[in-house]
Amino acid sequence: MSAHPTLALAGVSKSFGAVRALRDVSIELHAGEAHALAGENGAGKSTLVKTLAGVHRPDQGRILLDGEPVVFTGPADAQQAGVAVIYQEPTLFPDLSVAENIVMGRQPRRSLGRIDRAAMRAAARELFGRLGVDLDPGRPTRGLSIADQQLVEIAKALSRDARVLVMDEPTAALSGAEAARLFSVVEALREHGCAVLFISHRLDEIFALCQRVTTLRDGQWIASELVAGLTHDDLVRRMVGRDLGALYPKQDAAVGDVALKVERLTREGVFTDVSFEVRRGEIVALAGLVGAGRSEVARAIFGIDRWDAGTVTVDGRELPPGSPTAAMGAGLALVPEDRRQQGLVMEMSIERNIGLTGLRSLRRGATISRRAERDRAADWAARLRLKFARLGDGVGVLSGGNQQKVVLAKWLATEPSVLIVDEPTRGIDVGTKAEVHRLLSELAGQGIAVLMISSDLPEVLGMADRVLVMREGRLSAEIPRAEATEESVMNAATRRAA
């Protein structure tokens, strides 16, 4: 390890208006080391990344490159200095080839300024060789998986001689195998002397990949230490500032009548012959691989998509196909997978988002009562322990976890008898995740029937009274709590049809 860290922040503070996003934060990224950045949503991780990337300029403190103070006036400066940032959703040109994306802006030339395609492909192939991955440089980027697109981004960074690689939640959208391949690439980079900053909500990954970890909480530096001496619980405690107790606190609740009954539901080419029941007080998980048809079943039940055959009954009332309004009226609520597109109107305020499901009940005479709307929002914000400045603020300023609470609030305010939650804790920090779990458990205790779609197996096993497993558009197994293990669920999700 060289004397000076490749890149470091020393005593950096950054505020946005009244919000102090970073307070006196220091971090040192050394060549050949993978450094994890841990913290809950809203802890300041994104601000730190953007400071390193030259997007934000610190109000106080310094950025040090090889021990020398530097000023990044923009992302181009940071790139020039060898800092490359890989975001969760890569930003490539879909219609250009993989090789063209890698050399974008610095294409090798032949005479008369013509682009040298052969040299371009060779360069791309050489980079992939160094990374130990097999990708065709000539193929168009469109249609590549997110995992492959990230590899293209990494190759692009390498081609610019990046010395610091910042990865902001790169694994959030990856399967296990894809994540494993990404890790081997990161290992290779590290051995070549790259400094890596790695951000992930999955603590296991931090332990598997990183040598050092820096923890932030509420914009403040908590600790920078070697991963080797730490336990999982130590890290969680640093992130949330307290012990979490049981992470998955589903309490046993009195199981009541059938609230949701789905019979032989079919949507041609999407899912077939799906039948199940959810009783009041139960949490039933719908597990399976991505693409097995879980979200599609939820969408159909709630009326977003039409079904072709079968019936859906809520509290004994049969629903018409294709009407969210009717589903809502019958007591269904859906917390969708995509918060930003489907769950929230990002341009609207917190209170208006919460009020959106109550445009009828908030009516006083012909008009909406702003007071009733605010009361409803304030009530649910308090119950869900929402962290916010003003209810009139745009919902876009909230952290991901708090945005999810707003989605939950807007649906719980309708007093549903059946709550469907699709990936309720994806992209949410550990503390809020535990709160969401506790909340779901409480709701079941109050007699709500909960149907939970989740790709997070520990979450499924911890929360569910029963696990329904989908595979290729069909229900492949129903596993009671006592028999549900990672093996039994994964087997049902992946077993080939006989």
């Binding site: 969210p324 589903a327 109107v345």
Partner: protein
């Protein structure tokens, strides 16, 4: 976020400035007679702008309004020429306008076509129908009691009847847009249609209603227009859709939906009306008036974008 420089306030201030400049610099402008005429001349644009505001807030647009106005005018002429009573003609023609709007709405909501393309198509279609109905001729000699209603002032005021009707409808529209659940739903649809649909808002039904309303109002405006000029022609109101959309955008309604206030639109309508009136008083040709409307439209779309680019840049430099 208390922004003093809200766009609709800005347009209001501009309106006052233009009015002041006109009063000082253009003889014959600040007279009751002229202003009353200017308002009356604005009646159809103002009426149509109300319905258009609701559509644009919901991220849709209806470019066929001027053609519906023309079709309505042609129908009034043809039916009157054919001897039908004006009391029968008016509701009938307004109903035809509603059907025109319904057709737009069905094409947009059932077939999922973009409203910009659909209503450019029906812009040509409805205008064509107007010529089929009335050809090149003009029909005049409507009953004086009705033409008077379209021109005369409400007794004791300098406000023409159509403008009084506009004020009434503007209040209703303002309440609907800004204080009811329906209005809230329009903003949600315009800002994030998927999220609105997921929240149980009947997106398609609401859009269908808006298009039908737009056609209805445009046809009614066609009746007013015909009676006001005392002349039914197939080419009546040619190009009015541009003035309406210019007024709506100038009033600060975002063409992408989800933003804007009715107050801003009213200021926008008045501003366009004043400018047209000033140009007319200054004997500026209609071609130039059209150029000014076009420029205003571009400026009103461009300025907020420029502001959003320039403002952070100004802040960013130390």
């Amino acid at each position: 976020m208390t922004r003093v420089l809200r766009w609709d306030v800005l347009v209001g201030a501009l309106l006052v400035a233009v009015f002041a400049a006109g009063s000082l610099g253009v003889p014959g402008f600040a007279t009751t007679g002229n202003l009353s005429f200017a308002l009356g001349d604005l009646g159809e644009i103002a009426l149509i702008a109300l319905a258009m505001t609701l559509l644009v807030v919901a991220a849709e647009v209806d470019l066929s309004v001027a053609s519906v106005l023309g079709l309505s005018s042609a129908l009034v002429g043809a039916l009157w020429d054919g001897g039908m009573a004006i009391e029968t003609i008016i509701p009938l023609v307004v109903l035809v306008g509603a059907v025109c709007g319904l057709v737009n709405g069905l094409l947009v909501t059932r077939l999922g076509l973009p409203s910009l393309a659909v209503t450019i198509g029906t812009l040509a279609l409805y205008r064509g129908l107007a010529y089929v109905v009335l050809g090149d001729k003009a029909v005049a000699q409507f009953p004086p009691a009705y033409t008077a209603l379209a021109v005369d002032d409400v007794p004791g005021t300098p406000v023409p009847y159509p403008v009084a009707l506009f004020v009434l409808l503007a209040v209703v529209t303002g309440v609907v847009l800004h204080a009811t659940g329906f209005g809230r739903a329009l903003y949600a649809i315009g800002a994030q249609e998927q999220a609105a649909f997921f929240a149980g808002i009947r997106v398609k039904r609401i859009k269908l209603l808006l298009f039908t309303l737009s056609g209805t109002v445009a046809a009614f405006a066609g009746v007013v227009f015909t009676l006001r000029y005392g002349s039914a022609r197939a080419d009546n109101g040619l190009g009015v859709e541009l003035a309406v959309i210019a007024a709506v955008l100038l009033g600060g309604v975002d063409f992408d939906g989800g933003k804007g206030t009715l107050g801003g639109v009213i200021a926008g309508v008045l501003l366009i009306g004043l400018l047209r009136n000033l140009l007319m008083l200054g004997d500026v040709s209609t071609e130039i008036q059209s150029i000014v409307t076009g420029l205003l439209l571009i400026v009103s779309v461009l300025t907020p974008r420029l502001v959003s680019v320039v403002r952070p840049a100004l802040k960013g430099t130390p």
